[in-house]
Symmetry: C2
């Protein structure tokens, strides 16, 4: 095995707490009240349906910053918030500033000594580049949906990543906190590693609390993934 | 300006000395004699014609590792060298291990504080990833020919890079040691910075010894580029 691909939102960064905090900072700055938690959760709920409209051909190709912006406008209507252009842009940018989970940086640095590390994300390149700079993620490469014109779990994303890395799928492992993502990768011959992130969706999380298949590795965090890989090498 | 794209071979890394040294180490290991300098220079001479065959449609798309390998086989015939498969693979890999110029790392780290830094290279992603790891180049992103299915100076490469970075061309600067590359970038609206690398092709270099147009910046090395950008900010 030569390369590890990582899902980013949820697997490496805590998007939910990071967004809530940025909404709360904006609330203090504007001096009103914002439904910070509800906005965050409703926004993320529109993530999959928005990508699915692109995936099934109902909408033309648009990258994730564009989808986030459209969802935000709909959300503003839903919550009765008057957001001008500057605020819409600024809030869409919240997704560019996300905090890594406590084990993310140490785990990635440890893994990088032995493997190529690449993002495999439904975020677009410019978005993922900002996320990486903000969080300090030590990538070798960003492999984002806009390189392929497809969103995960479309096979073009996983196979396109292997092609660009010039590796057969069995030399590549996907590490993700989401079973659907690993399922698509396994079907194409990639190795799979599951890391549970039981707080990704907040205290009431009901999905992806555990591995739903016998993934090649099931780890408690990135440091544990590194230990397991080192032990099996 | 938000991003600086860098040509890599010659602009950031000294491919010629690095290849000659690796041929010399192989010569010592094999115990025979190898025309190390001639092999290096003849190999690089086949670089542009090989890409041009792809660019003008005489050959199907192939990435640079593949073109290097084909040129090496032709070269082995030309020099009467019997290279088995293992040696052909190993020597093709010489291009993955290239030394940065003395100013490259310090210059890139200084520039990275203010700008996104991305490779814009005719190398393929896997090759450029190895070059980056070997030399320690602190990239934000690799934008390589195989993302676009085109080689520089085809416009698809420069425009594809701007599209992936989500920036208009005037927010992007290309830094290169080659006038032809900057000419193509300027024609598409990118900003341009020339850095002379008068030893890239060895002591007899006759091309790209100086700027051939009034590029936006003309710098003696990357640290000078950083100084000039900081002074104009």
């Amino acid at each position: 095995m030569r390369a590890i691909l990582f899902d980013v939102f949820g697997t490496l960064v805590d998007w939910r707490s990071s967004l809530i905090e940025q909404f709360q900072a904006l609330e203090r700055e504007l001096g009103g009240t914002l439904p910070c938690v509800e906005l965050t959760d409703r926004w993320r709920q529109q993530y999959k349906p928005a990508m699915d409209r692109v995936r099934n051909g109902q909408a033309p190709w648009q990258h994730l910053d564009q989808l986030h912006r459209q969802s935000l406008e709909a959300l503003a209507g839903e919550f009765g918030l008057a957001l001008d252009e500057a605020l819409l842009q600024r809030i869409t940018g919240f997704w560019h500033r996300l905090r890594p989970w406590p084990d993310t940086l140490a785990g990635m640095h440890a893994l990088k000594a032995d493997y190529w590390l690449a993002a495999l994300s439904n975020g677009n390149t410019a978005l993922m580049l900002d996320v990486a700079r903000h969080a300090g993620l030590p990538w070798d490469m960003l492999l984002c949906a806009d390189l392929f014109g497809h969103y995960k779990p479309d096979p073009q994303v996983y196979l396109g990543a292997c092609r660009l890395l010039d590796l057969p799928p069995q030399e590549v492992m996907l590490c993700a906190a989401h079973n659907y993502d690993l399922k698509a990768a396994r079907a194409l011959g990639l190795k799979t590693a599951f890391i549970a992130r039981p707080l990704e969706y907040g205290p009431g999380q009901s999905q992806d609390l555990a591995a739903e298949q016998d993934w090649d590795l099931i780890a408690s965090d990135l440091l544990d993934l590194h230990r397991q890989l080192a032990a099996s090498a």
